[in-house]
C-alpha cells in the first residue's frame, strides 16, 4: 500500500476547478470550517470557554445549537480546566464530544488532557495554535506541541478543507481506538482566513461516520461500576501497556481512514505527504500546517528541493516518514521548519525526525526556527532557508531574526 502522496498529486491541494458530488462549495474561514466539521460529525456535547483565536469556533457551534441546526448540549463553562473535565464526564457517559481551545486554554487544561487520554476516552477537539506569556495571540504551535506527551493523537491541518475533513476522520480513529484526538490549525493564517471549502452533505458524512457505538465501558446506571479508582503499582503499567499497543495502531489507521475518506468523499489523506522526493533531491523541507502551502508554492522554482508535510504528529508516523524519504540519497539534507519553541536547542519537528531516522538513515539534518508568535513566513523566508541550507548550513539557525 502506498500511503504517501507522490509528485503527480502536486496540484491536488488546490480544490479550485474540482467539483465533488454531494458537496456544497462555500467560502469559509478556518474556524467556521472547524465548526462545520464538528456539526457534520454530530457532536452531542460541547462544553466551551472563549479564547482568541479559537472563539468563533464555539460561537458558531452555539449558533448551530440555538437554531437547532445541531442537536447538541452546549454549555458555557467556567474555565478550560472545567471544559475538559466536562468533556471527560460526558465521554465517560458515552456522548460524542467536541470542543475547541487555544494556547493558554490548552495549557490550563493540561492536567485533564492526561486524564482524558488515560481514561481512554474518545474525545475530539480543535486547537488553534498560539504561544504562552508574554501575551501573544498569533500563530505558533508551541501550545499543542508542548502537549505531545499527554497521550493525545495530533493532526495538523494545512487548509480549512483539511481541518474539516480531519475532524470527521478524527472521530473514526478516536472511537475505534478509544484515544482522544486534537486537530490543530494555525491562528489567523487559517482560523480567520477565508478559503474555498467543499462542505459535504450531512447524509454523506452519516454514511461514513455512523452514530457513536457504545462498547459497554461507559457509565450505565442500570449496571453500576467504578471508573478511575486508585491502581496499585503492580497493575498500573498494564494500563500503560494497553495504551501503548493501541497508540501504535494509529499511524496505519490514519492512513487507512484517510484512504477510505478519499474513496467516499473524493479527497484522500495520509499521515504524511511527500512532494518531489527523488534520488536527485538535494534538500527536503519538513513542515506542518500552513507553512506547507508556502513551501509547496516554491517547489516549481527549486527542482532540487522536496517537501515532506507531516499531518499526523503524535504518535509520530515513523514508517510513513521513512517510506517517504526512501528515494532520498544519503548526501541530501533535511531541514525542519519550527514554528514552536519548547525551551530546548532543537524544536519539536527536529526532535521527532531524529527519533524516527535514528539507526535507519544517515542524512544530515538542520533545524530552523522561524515564524514564532505569528511572524509571517513569506516565500522569501522559505527561499532563504533553502539557499542557506544548500550553501552554508548551520545545525540550528534562526531566520529573519530581528
Amino acid at each position: 500500500m502506498n500511503n504517501v502522496t507522490t509528485n503527480d498529486s502536486l496540484n491536488t491541494k488546490t480544490t479550485s476547478g474540482k467539483s465533488y458530488a454531494r458537496h456544497v462549495q462555500k467560502i469559509l474561514k478556518g474556524n467556521y470550517a472547524a465548526a462545520e466539521g464538528a456539526k457534520l460529525a454530530r457532536a452531542g456535547f460541547i462544553p466551551a470557554y472563549p479564547i482568541t483565536p479559537q472563539t468563533t469556533i464555539v460561537e458558531e457551534l452555539s449558533n448551530k445549537v440555538a437554531t437547532k441546526e445541531l442537536d447538541a448540549t452546549y454549555i458555557n463553562m467556567d474555565s478550560e480546566h472545567s471544559v475538559f473535565a466536562a468533556a471527560m464526564g460526558a465521554a465517560i457517559a458515552g456522548e460524542r464530544v467536541f470542543t475547541a481551545t487555544s494556547g493558554q486554554g490548552l495549557f490550563y487544561a493540561h492536567e485533564v488532557l492526561h486524564a482524558i487520554a488515560h481514561f481512554r476516552l474518545p474525545v475530539v477537539i480543535c486547537n488553534v495554535g498560539r504561544p504562552s506569556i508574554p501575551w501573544n495571540i498569533w500563530s505558533d504551535q508551541t501550545d499543542s506541541l508542548a502537549q505531545r506527551d499527554t497521550g493525545w493523537v495530533q493532526f495538523y491541518g494545512e487548509s480549512s478543507q483539511e481541518v474539516l475533513d480531519s475532524i470527521i476522520q478524527a472521530y473514526i480513529i478516536s472511537e475505534e481506538l478509544d484515544l482522544p484526538v486534537m486537530v490543530v490549525l494555525d491562528a489567523f493564517y487559517q482560523s480567520h482566513t477565508s478559503e474555498n471549502v467543499w462542505v459535504p452533505e450531512q447524509s454523506l458524512v452519516d454514511e461514513f461516520l455512523p452514530p457513536k457505538k457504545l462498547k459497554g465501558g461507559e457509565i450505565d446506571v442500570d449496571h453500576p461500576k467504578a471508573f478511575g479508582g486508585l491502581i496499585a503499582p503492580d497493575k498500573y503499567e498494564t494500563f500503560n501497556y494497553r495504551y501503548w499497543v493501541d497508540i501504535n495502531k494509529v499511524e496505519d489507521l490514519a492512513n487507512k481512514v484517510g484512504e477510505e475518506f478519499g474513496k467516499h468523499f473524493g479527497r484522500k489523506y495520509s499521515a504524511v505527504e511527500a512532494y518531489n522526493i527523488t534520488p536527485e533531491t538535494k534538500l527536503v523541507l519538513v513542515t506542518i500546517s500552513s507553512i506547507t502551502s508556502t513551501a509547496r508554492g516554491l517547489l516549481p522554482r527549486y527542482p532540487e528541493v522536496g517537501l515532506l508535510k507531516l499531518r499526523l504528529i503524535k504518535p509520530f508516523p515513523k514508517k510513513s516518514v521513512l517510506k517517504a524519504l526512501e528515494p532520498l540519497s544519503e548526501d541530501a539534507s533535511i531541514v525542519t521548519i519550527e514554528r514552536n519553541f519548547l525551551g530546548d536547542k532543537e524544536g519539536a519537528l527536529m526532535m521527532e525526525m531524529k527519533r524516527a531516522l535514528y539507526g535507519e538513515r544517515n542524512i544530515k539534518m538542520y533545524d530552523v526556527y522561524t515564524g514564532l508568535g505569528g511572524k509571517d513566513v513569506p516565500p522569501r523566508t522559505i527561499e532563504k532557508i533553502i539557499v542557506k541550507t544548500l550553501e552554508a548550513p548551520e545545525e540550528i539557525s534562526w531566520i529573519d531574526l530581528e
Binding site: A86, M88, G89, I92, V221, P224, K225, F227, I231
Partner: protein
C-alpha cells in the same frame, strides 16, 4: 410518630470493608446518603480521603456508579455526566459529587461556583473535616480558627476563620443548601431526601469527624459532632433560594470550649497565653448565630 427508618438504614448500599479510619465521617455519611439516593446514582469523586475509601481498582464500595476525577473539577465532570445522561433519557438518575473541604473551599471553588451558577441538576455533598486529610492534615480555608495542622503547627495555629461557604453558596440563589451533622441522623436523612427530590443545584455540607486529623478518640466522633451543634460551632440550618431556616436550637448555652477541649488539635488553646483565642472563637460563633437568627427572620417576615 417516630419511624425507625428515619434513623436506620433499611437497605445497605455500601459494602463492608471500606478503607476509612475508625470513626471517620466519610464512612457514615456515605452509608446514609447511598441508602437514600439508591443505585440509580452516579457519584463523582475528586481527590480526597473518599477516593481511597471508595475502593482501589477494581473495587467499588458503593452500589452505584462511581467516577473518580481530578481534584479541581468534580462539578465540571459531573456537568458532562449529567448532560450525557439527560441526552440518553436518564433524567431520573441522581448525579452526586462527594468532595472534601479542600476540594470545595479551595481548589474546586471555581468549578463549584460555575456549576451552581449554571443551575446544573447536581447534588453536591461536602464532607467538611476542616483540613486536607488525605495528604496528611494540611490547612485548608475550611480549617477552623485555632486548629493546628501540619502546615500550621504549634504556635502558628490557624489564625483566620473559615470562609462562609454556606453564605457564598446561598448567594448563588440555589434551590437547596443545608448543613448536616452525623449526630443528628434524622435531620441528616430528611435533608438527603429533600435534596434528592429537589431539582437544580443542591448542596449538603456535613461536619465530618476525622480522629487522626482532629486528634480525637474514634469512639467519640458522634458525641463531639453533637457538641459542635450544641455549642453552635456547627449550626444546623437550610437555605432555599436564599431563605434561611434554622433546624436546631440548642436548649442551653454550651461554651465552645466544651467541644474544643475534646480535640487535640485545639489543646494549645487551653494554655494561659492563648486563652484569648477561645474568647475570639466564642465571639465569632455567637455573632454567626445572631446573623443566622436575623437571616431567618428576614427570610420569613412579610
Amino acid at each position: 410518630m417516630l419511624q425507625a427508618n428515619k434513623f436506620l438504614i433499611e437497605e445497605e448500599k455500601v459494602f463492608s470493608g471500606g478503607l476509612s479510619c475508625r470513626g471517620c465521617g466519610w464512612a457514615l455519611l456515605v452509608r446514609h446518603l447511598a441508602s437514600i439516593l439508591g443505585e440509580n446514582t452516579v457519584y463523582v469523586v475528586p481527590a480526597s480521603c473518599f477516593s481511597i475509601i471508595a475502593g482501589p481498582y477494581p473495587l467499588n464500595e458503593i452500589r452505584g456508579s462511581v467516577v473518580h476525577t481530578v481534584f479541581a473539577a468534580a462539578p465540571a465532570t459531573a456537568t458532562g455526566i449529567r448532560a450525557a445522561l439527560d441526552r440518553k433519557g436518564k433524567k431520573d438518575a441522581t448525579v452526586a459529587i462527594l468532595a472534601g473541604d479542600g476540594g470545595t473551599f479551595d481548589i474546586g471553588f471555581q468549578s463549584l461556583s460555575g456549576a451552581a451558577s449554571r443551575g446544573e441538576n447536581l447534588l453536591y455533598v461536602v464532607n467538611n473535616n476542616g483540613a486536607y486529610m488525605n495528604t496528611g492534615i494540611q490547612t485548608s480555608t475550611a480549617t477552623p480558627y485555632g486548629a493546628v495542622t501540619t502546615t500550621n503547627p504549634q504556635a502558628n495555629f490557624k489564625k483566620t476563620f473559615p470562609k462562609d461557604l454556606m453564605g457564598i453558596i446561598a448567594a448563588h440563589n440555589i434551590p437547596y443548601a443545608a448543613t448536616c451533622s452525623l449526630a443528628f441522623i434524622e435531620d441528616y436523612r430528611r435533608k438527603i431526601q429533600k435534596a434528592k427530590e429537589t431539582k437544580g443545584f443542591r448542596l449538603l455540607m456535613i461536619d465530618g469527624p476525622c480522629p487522626p486529623g482532629h486528634k480525637t478518640d474514634p469512639a467519640q466522633s458522634i458525641s463531639i459532632a453533637r457538641l459542635a451543634v450544641e455549642t453552635k460551632l456547627f449550626p444546623l440550618f437550610e437555605v432555599e433560594h436564599q431563605k434561611y431556616r434554622i433546624n436546631y436550637f440548642p436548649k442551653e448555652k454550651v461554651p465552645v470550649e466544651r467541644c474544643l477541649e475534646k480535640q487535640g488539635r485545639f489543646r494549645h488553646l487551653f494554655q494561659d497565653e492563648s486563652r484569648q483565642a477561645l474568647n475570639e472563637i466564642q465571639d465569632y460563633v455567637d455573632s454567626y448565630w445572631e446573623k443566622l437568627l436575623k437571616l431567618e427572620k428576614l427570610s420569613f417576615e412579610e
